[in-house]
Symmetry: C2
Subunit: 326 residues, 2 copies
């Protein structure tokens, strides 16, 4: 017992081999079997663990990955964070989590800390393109930031189509698409685009109401009141760009005395759940959160960074959650 944590040199001495040999064993490089065994046994005897900081210093590989999220309070981000963490750990990496609260300043600050910390790569769901200039492998989740930044996202367009198809299938004849401005500009729009395309091709009348950044939810309320002119809502199917919005719309409608799903059916987007339980907030288009996380990690850790797809689009699915007639 030396009282101090054992080093590779100690292991080499204990095993009676050279320092470099021990290094190779712990990096999976080819080593003669007899040597490998000697080293492994010596390491176990001493309780040796690789010092990640020395490794990081010398080789640049640090085995940890920075994850930048707007927050972890929202269940979609929370699920993402959780799956990213487990996916990374399965691949022997650690997750360095930065939360930005969506402030560009905070995001910039994170980039500084990320660079300072010398991580192997960054997985981010951010608003600004994060000026990493290709210094570091970067994978974006749910936001296409540029041609040379790989992005993994749910099939937002297809999800929009699916929502429209479901509502029509469930008997709706007059639809609406509601969207908040706080979400990213490009991706959430695709949900609306898919929705509108389907409505048009099926010849179903619809309204689309997009809130700009900073605008109040009051506009939604006004929208509903307009459509209640005849005493009852003249819309019977609503697609909301997020479950959060769908949840709030439910509140507004119940205040107005409109019943869900009897009078109007609502479909949200995300597939988030109450607590970590099963219950959905509403009928919804479910994002494949786990698959998103795993794909992002795989993409990031791919050795050959020359031919990486610019966009991986994962399929979504429909799940009834009480705000539709099925």
């Amino acid at each position: 017992m030396k009282g101090t944590t054992p080093t590779m040199k100690d292991v080499a001495q204990e095993a009676g081999v050279a320092l470099g040999t021990v290094s190779k064993v712990f990096n999976g490089l080819p080593v003669g079997d007899s040597y490998r065994i000697k080293v492994e046994e010596a390491a176990k005897r001493l309780g040796y663990q690789v010092n990640q900081y020395a490794r990081g210093l010398r080789s640049g590989k640090t085995y940890n990955v920075a994850v930048i999220l707007p927050g972890v309070n929202h269940p979609f981000f929370a699920a993402l964070a959780q799956h990213l963490c487990t996916a990374l750990m399965q691949r022997e990496h650690r997750m360095l989590l930065y939360v930005t609260a969506s402030h560009p300043d905070a995001e910039r600050e994170c980039v500084g800390m990320v660079r300072q910390n010398k991580v192997d790569g960054v997985i981010g769901l951010t608003y600004n393109p994060l000026t990493l200039d290709g210094e570091l492998p970067f994978v974006s989740i749910d936001r296409c930031l540029g041609p040379d930044i790989p992005c993994v996202a749910a099939d937002n367009y297809g999800g929009g189509r699916l929502a429209a198809e479901k509502l029509i299938e469930l008997g709706c004849t007059r639809l609406a698409f509601l969207r908040t401005g706080s979400a990213s500009p490009s991706e959430t729009d695709k949900r609306g685009d898919g929705f509108e395309m389907t409505c048009r091709s099926r010849n179903i009348p619809y309204d689309a109401l997009r809130l700009n950044d900073g605008e109040d939810y009051a506009r939604f309320r006004a929208f509903f009141q307009e459509h209640m002119a005849a005493g009852r809502l003249d819309i019977d199917g609503i697609f909301c760009s997020t479950d959060l919005l769908a949840w709030q719309v439910q509140g507004m409608l119940s205040e107005l005395g409109v019943r869900v799903p009897e009078d109007v059916q609502i479909i949200g987007f995300d597939g988030v759940r109450h607590f970590d339980q099963d219950k959905l907030y509403c009928s919804t288009i479910v994002q494949p959160t786990r698959k998103l996380a795993e794909t992002a990690v795989d993409l990031l850790l791919t050795k050959d960074r020359s031919n990486i797809p610019a966009l991986v689009c994962l399929p979504v699915s429909y799940a009834p959650g009480g705000t539709t007639r099925e």
Copy 2:
């Protein structure tokens, strides 16, 4: 432009000073003002950032902290994670997040990774005592693990008392305490203890139903049915050990045709909110999540580890959330 990231040596050269002087500047050690300025300007010119791995290797200080949580899906844990992250970043540390899903195996695995990663300390909300043997500074959140492990927790006992007092104040005459077995054994019990003490001292009749690990929620349903013998519920105030439970109890009661808060008032515990919005799930005893996180971080980063309090107990508060008459 050298094409490679600048090192301290580069900064020293650029500033025309010695290597050690640059080091001192970046560690806040005393340096002559003229030197300090020269170094800071040179560093800015080169865009220099301290290499944390070299620093960690040499000095043992790594400026990152491991945070071990059962999960990040539950809004209470999510809020905790978020506040821990910001509190750490404010103190120039990074958060290495490990999620365990409450499996002892996963927790053990985390300890290994933590040790291997050479972090400055660990903040954990875990089930098992995490055999760190005082190797590393450790702060436990919400669970008292032992005499030499500092713990920061909400005032669970006081919260239980507060819940009982509120219900009584709001006119309840027959109370119940419900608790799930999945939460930690000791801490959640304190909530019940406080509740029962107050009921007893105020001479209010009450039932207490504690679910053991693995037992089904069906027992709660059975409990309610028993108490509906007279056609209507003979209990008019319920205290649930968590908001999650309160939420599910609401569902059961609405199935039974019991109205909340007209027939029975419910108070939960945690103070978690829908998404990251304001809306509470129920009337509740609010945990000071942010304060918990900040205290844990401060405790962990305290230099002088000799006289650290074994338990810091933070005050809770009551917040009406629709399941009480105020």
